[in-house]
């Protein structure tokens, strides 16, 4: 998505350790107008016929998922990170490794809000190692729900998450894939949509 790539070029920063910082419009301050454009783009990229919910994980995915749910006219559901090892009943659970917290965390979601009659689109702001998304896919599977696909705003293409998810046959679409990020700037992966 050209508008997003442009914005990353203009305002994104690369910190030591290949950390890509886009917190001026994506995950600290949030440009909701840009998110509306991203939601519309997901609407073009996915067949959302029969969609019942947009699914994400706390915290930074929530803003984009809320705007997507608003755009598509369905509820948004977000998985939570368990705050302790004492997890109550009635929950789907998935154990993932959090690179942010540098430890294993358990994603939880109430069984009440996702079941076999659901057809969901997973949405997240960022994809690097893909652990959070792997956990969400696991929860969708546990729920017996149908997964339409995964829509991501920014993918770090030089980290393995995207490749792994696509190899599993998941319809993953990232609006900007950064293949290289260093002091000379950003290199984005060419995508089919760019040629339309």
């Amino acid at each position: 998505m050209k508008a997003l790539e442009e914005r990353i070029r203009l305002e994104g920063k690369v910190l030591p350790g290949n950390i890509v910082k886009v917190d001026g419009f994506l995950n600290h301050r949030v440009d909701v107008r840009l998110m509306r454009e991203m939601a519309k783009e997901f609407g073009r990229l996915f067949d959302l016929e029969g969609l019942t919910a947009v699914l994400t994980i706390e915290a930074s995915g929530i803003a984009l998922a809320a705007i997507c749910a608003d755009e598509f006219g369905v509820p948004m559901v977000f998985a939570k990170k368990a705050k302790s090892d004492n997890i109550e009943g009635g929950l789907y659970q998935s154990r993932i490794f959090s690179y942010t917290y540098k430890k294993e965390v358990t994603l939880i979601m109430s069984r009440q809000w996702l079941g076999p009659n659901d057809k969901v689109l997973i949405v997240d702001d960022f994809l690097a190692n893909g652990e959070a998304l792997r956990g969400l896919v696991d929860i969708v599977t546990q729920a017996g729900a149908e997964l339409i696909g995964i829509g991501v705003a920014v993918e770090k293409g030089f980290q393995p998450g995207g490749k792994r998810l696509r190899e599993e046959g998941i319809d993953l679409k990232s609006l900007a894939i950064i293949d290289k990020a260093d002091e000379s700037g950003f290199v984005f992966r060419k995508q089919e949509e760019d040629y339309e």
Copy 2:
């Protein structure tokens, strides 16, 4: 706001310890249509002339704040909970007591995204002890920004947060104030807007 009170009566649950559970439409599964109505109601209750940002705190406030920011045509900024005691520079910080985590946590926000030229509305989904909101007000003060007021979806009126914030002269508006919640149901505080 009648529609919100009605929804709490229909779907809200009271758990032991006066815990009010509204996770079917507010803070786990999110009804974005209801949030749009709440955003419009905040637009009626506050004078938003000159508004530059909607401010909230991760995680569950983000959905409502994003819809509000979309409704008012401004960016949304959310404070984060520090993940460690090693906090980098360039941040506003406020120390609060988290009743969820049962310990002190530090709210952080990049100085880049809030300053003396900002005029902000703070938005959150829930108000009980008011620690998170106190921290956000503190950050707005540190930034030298102007605070229009605080818009909350659900206030637990039998806990002290709301009273404290109002006594400090802050224009706090809660769309539903629960004065009593037990096995017999919910009692809501009458508010001026109910008589309009």
